[in-house]
Symmetry: C2
Subunit: 351 residues, 2 copies
């Protein structure tokens, strides 16, 4: 144990420098170094300066595992989404990362791959790793399950879903108002024969968005023609199928509201393939504002889904919740949309 009294033990190979090394070199106790590092407790000015200098020189970085152990919490936020490679969830993760880093936290990623068990497994695994702040994008768990989970995991935040009983830990998006907004836009351009291509899975978002359409019609004093409602899978192929179905029905239409951008692209492809001119004959609106919107010809008018901002917010909320920071029980966290106007929507031609 040959320490040079004022220096570091160099006899052994590379060793990471600890708080004790700093303390020894600075001639103080580890407690004091800790106080300097964390800015808590009283430390004399001279002493503080000296310790800080040594910390610099030695390049001391606190060991996070030790800190977590004694503090009984980590500085990680967990994110559970179906598949991070999808643009939407990529944006979500990006927002979360920014926000986490902002407060000195790191982002732990889990893919749930659209499976109920893996959503729960992911939560448990994150929790076992000492990660008590968790953002969950749940597609398969029931409200009841989520309510139970949120009793057990106090740092749990649900993103993109609204559950009244746990409103204060839901960060969600106003689908109804957003699609109503789309109807407004189309109506303002003279469209009345508006078709809707929705998702075949009529849960939450699709339902809400459909509701928004109906509300929009009502507000505009129009009536929605249910013959112009088609549904399929919420992807490119589904969009194509919807357009096919629409064409087959023979009911005239001058605009299509798609459930999301992918479906909008599918709709456009199929319409063009069948000789329709987009947007000259048919206007099309998407939802999400994904990169695709600008790749399509015409570029697609859509709703911006502020998922990145929502994720940033959700992270802060999750961290607060985990800390027991008092958050008002009766407050919820609702985000709203804005329209991005591009080429796929035009004034209806005067016929």
């Amino acid at each position: 144990m040959a320490f040079t009294i004022a220096g570091l033990n160099e006899s052994e190979g590379f060793r990471v420098v600890t708080i004790n090394d700093v303390a020894r070199v600075a001639g103080v106790s580890p407690a004091t170094v800790s106080r300097v590092v964390n800015g808590k407790g009283k430390v004399g000015d001279a002493c503080r300066a000296r310790v800080q200098k040594i910390i610099q020189e030695l390049g001391y970085k606190p060991n996070v595992s030790a800190q977590s152990l004694v503090n009984r919490h980590t500085t990680n936020v967990g994110l559970i989404t179906p598949k991070i490679s999808m643009e939407f969830f990529g944006n979500l993760a990006a927002g979360a990362e920014v926000s986490a880093r902002d407060v000195g936290y790191s982002l732990l990623i889990c893919n749930s791959l659209y499976e109920e068990e893996s959503e729960i497994a992911a939560i448990e695994s994150l929790h076992a790793k000492g990660c008590e702040s968790i953002i969950l994008h749940s597609d398969y768990l029931t409200d009841k399950q989520l309510i139970e989970l949120s009793e057990r995991y106090k740092g749990l935040v649900i993103i993109n879903r609204y559950i009244p009983k746990i409103a204060s830990r839901c960060v969600w998006f106003d689908n109804v108002a957003s699609t109503a907004q789309i109807v407004d836009l189309l109506a303002s351009k003279g469209h009345e024969a508006i078709a809707v291509a929705t998702s075949i899975y009529q849960n939450r978002d699709p339902q809400q968005r459909l509701l928004g359409v109906r509300q929009g019609f009502m507000m505009q004093g129009l009536t929605f023609n249910d013959n112009l409602l088609v549904e399929s899978t919420a992807n490119l192929e589904g969009g194509k199928a919807c357009a096919q179905e629409l064409i087959q029905r023979g009911e005239p239409f001058t605009a299509v509201i798609a459930y999301n951008d992918l479906m909008a692209v599918g709709v456009i492809h199929e319409l063009v393939k069948n000789g329709y001119k987009v947007p000259e004959q048919v206007s099309v609106v998407g939802f999400d504002d994904s990169a695709m919107c600008r790749a399509c010809i015409p570029t697609i008018t859509t709703i911006k889904y502020p998922i990145e901002e929502m994720a940033e917010y959700a992270v802060k909320l999750a961290i607060d919740l985990a800390k027991d920071a008092a958050t008002p029980e009766n407050k919820t966290h609702l985000f709203t949309s804005s329209m991005i106007e591009r080429e796929s929507v035009v004034e209806i031609p005067h016929s």
Copy 2:
């Protein structure tokens, strides 16, 4: 300190169960529980069974911070990419996550946002967090810097870049062979007047891909017309600019090889806008196989970049490296491509 000798202390509020609780209830020492949990060391069959039962009943999960502290390593892999919200990096992350979870690790995400300092800062921050396996997608650091870093961080793996001196920790992609493959395809369809829209930043990938084009021409016995080489930023706008420039030059061409899918989309948009028919008059090839390729009209023929598989591989490598698992110094990790043929490339019309 009122313990019921065989049970758990229930006087205080919710307390997470520790190895000591298990030991106490099972009537063994913590060491034995540890041995059971980790499957190391000798434990009698009866004893093992009993301990396992108690672990089940109590729902004991080892505290990861404590483990990390004593084992001097975490079970996290760090991923540093410019921006996780970009599709390419999203795919990278998805692959990494799968692979990490597969071996019981978690994925820690850091965005470097295309800044040199933040790449280094990210490495340091990950390391400080006890994360010794790191996947780095570096855009701004020099080879020299990376070599130095890899001396300091033994679990560091460089993805998407090849540095001979540290070949064994580079997981990369054969850009040269890939673009040569594109030339082959086009040539097989009768194209000779082939234009290239490359990135204005002529570092690494763009250089390699250009080299591949030249090689491809050589192999086909063709000569590349340098008047058909245009460059701009590697995004949609850049693609448009390239097409504009190409049109302006007045040199005839029947095909365009774009640096990536985004540029391909831009090229197509601008060509169409100027009255060219794609693919009837001009074939266009992209690179990456991003989602956009299927959104564009026509759908885009491209090269599949196997980034997901590469990331999976990289994670395993990084973990091995961090463990000092002997990896052959003179082995490198090269991935190759495959063509995805869609609508944007057609046989040249017999004129």
